[in-house]
């Protein structure tokens, strides 16, 4: 059985935000809800890195643990999904999630948030595959068609990877080896100190 994961290669991401756009378009996500976002660290400085983040489909998902109505479930492929008919919009999953994945359509007085929305790994929800109800609540169901999430599928630099965790690990391991890492600078494709000396 596959164990679906995302991995974002920080040495490849160019902060183009195409994954964000693809996700919004594929799933018809409303304004204000960002299932995926790109965060840039040290923007404009040496060592700048960008990462594309969404729900990481945790094995031990904090959202599912703290949910007061138990609306989360994990599919056979290890994808963490939730049932919007059960969700009461309390926001606990947002407090607990390490990645800021849970999103809410509203942020209003009296704690009115609406039903939580998050990345589904393009796997829809508990409704029948490709049903209008599923599409309106959760967006596209590409997994049912044997396709991977669109964000990763269309990433121009193949920084964002999606798929079985074992396969992703192999791909990333090969990349690291090809970058000629030494024992002292794992996963780095340039030597910062040498650059400092040259500069």
């Amino acid at each position: 059985m596959a164990r679906m994961k995302f991995y974002c290669d920080a040495d490849r991401c160019i902060e183009c935000n195409a994954c964000v756009t693809a996700c919004k378009n594929e799933n018809e996500v409303p304004w204000g809800v960002n299932r995926r976002r790109v965060v840039t660290i040290n923007d404009g400085e040496q060592g700048e890195r960008s990462l594309s983040v969404a729900c990481m489909h945790c094995s031990d998902a904090p959202c599912a643990t703290v949910c007061p109505v138990d609306c989360f479930y994990t599919t056979g492929d290890g994808i963490v999904l939730h049932d919007k008919d059960i969700c009461i919009g309390c926001g606990y999953c947002f407090y607990a999630c390490p990645f800021g994945a849970p999103q809410f359509p509203a942020e209003a007085a009296f704690s009115s948030r609406g039903k939580m929305d998050k990345c589904t790994f393009c796997a829809g929800g508990p409704e029948d595959d490709h049903s209008p109800a599923e599409y309106s609540k959760y967006g596209s169901n590409r997994i049912a068609d044997g396709k991977l999430p669109l964000c990763a599928e269309m990433c121009s630099t193949k920084a964002l990877l999606a798929g079985d965790a074992d396969v992703l690990s192999d791909i990333y391991r090969k990349r690291v080896i090809n970058r000629g890492a030494s024992a002292f600078d794992w996963g780095v494709n340039f030597n910062k100190q040498k650059l400092d000396l040259q500069g």
């Binding site: 660290i41 990462l51 983040v53 109505v69 919009g89 947002f94 390490p98 990645f99 794992w186």
Partner: protein
Amino acid sequence: MKIHTLLFVVCLLASVFQVQAANPQSAPPPPPSSLYTSNPGAELWREVRQRDGEVLRGTTQMTSTDAGVLINVSGQLWREYRMQKLIPIAGVAILVVLAAILVFRVVRGKIPIPGGRSGVKILRFTTNQRYAHWSTAILFVILGLTGLIMLLGRTVLLPVLGPDAFSAIAAGGKFLHDYLGPLFALSLTWLFVLFVHGNMPKPGIDLKWLASGGGMFGKHAHAECYNAGEKGWFWLATIGGLAVVVSGLVLDFPIFGQTRATMEFYHIVHSIAAVILIVVSFGHIYMGTAAIEGTFEIMQTGYCDANWAKDHHDLWYEKVKDSAGAEPRQAEVQPGMAQRESTNST
């Protein structure tokens, strides 16, 4: 296991002191740079995970609060608090207090008024005070129950009701909790203003009352209008209520850009204060309803029986008895009421 850990810590401390003894003045020299080539990869992840304790905010196209934070470190602490501390402790505390009340009931039974009812009624609470009490009480019960659904419903109710029915109840509960919460702030303020007079601590009387066990095991100590137990509940409700109200308003209005860390902190304050209030309120509700004869009718009608007052609030009784007529708290005995009481007691 514990001995091993202890030994390890002792060795660690010893080695630290040895190093300090060897270099009393200066820090160790910087390591040779060839060996400690800085690693941008490791530094990146250390920053992302906020290992150094400061919240890293990157730049992002998203405008929502905390969008630039890659890892929400406090989320895990909050999860552990809710799942491993709050839910088990609250559940056990509620069961323990209910069991204690049950034991008290079995041991003491219903406590009667010594000498029976006199039939003489004394005004104890004004209409305004009763309305303030019942507004706060009704709101408290609704807020407490809906809060407990959020806290313990998944453990207790969900297996019984099934996901759809429980979700409907929890959604309705959340709606009531969010909209009635601010009203509780108002009614609690009203209650405080009306009841603070007479609830100021008087150590001389209150400590003696507490030392005697509050009459729980027999003879009553002297008490004025409110005894130390009632004063304790009043101040707990005031201080705990203030904590619940302030933290609740922060949680109820997430429109001022509160970060997750802020919300988690106020949720912890809210839940601790609320669980304490709920647990202690069980005692208050039992004492006020079924525990002691002639108590519930006082908050119902505003009047207490003279013998009840003599037993529980002797100093207050002496005061209102002496100033009969001139004292507005002293009510004229209504013949009908006195008669009804006397027929009841025969």
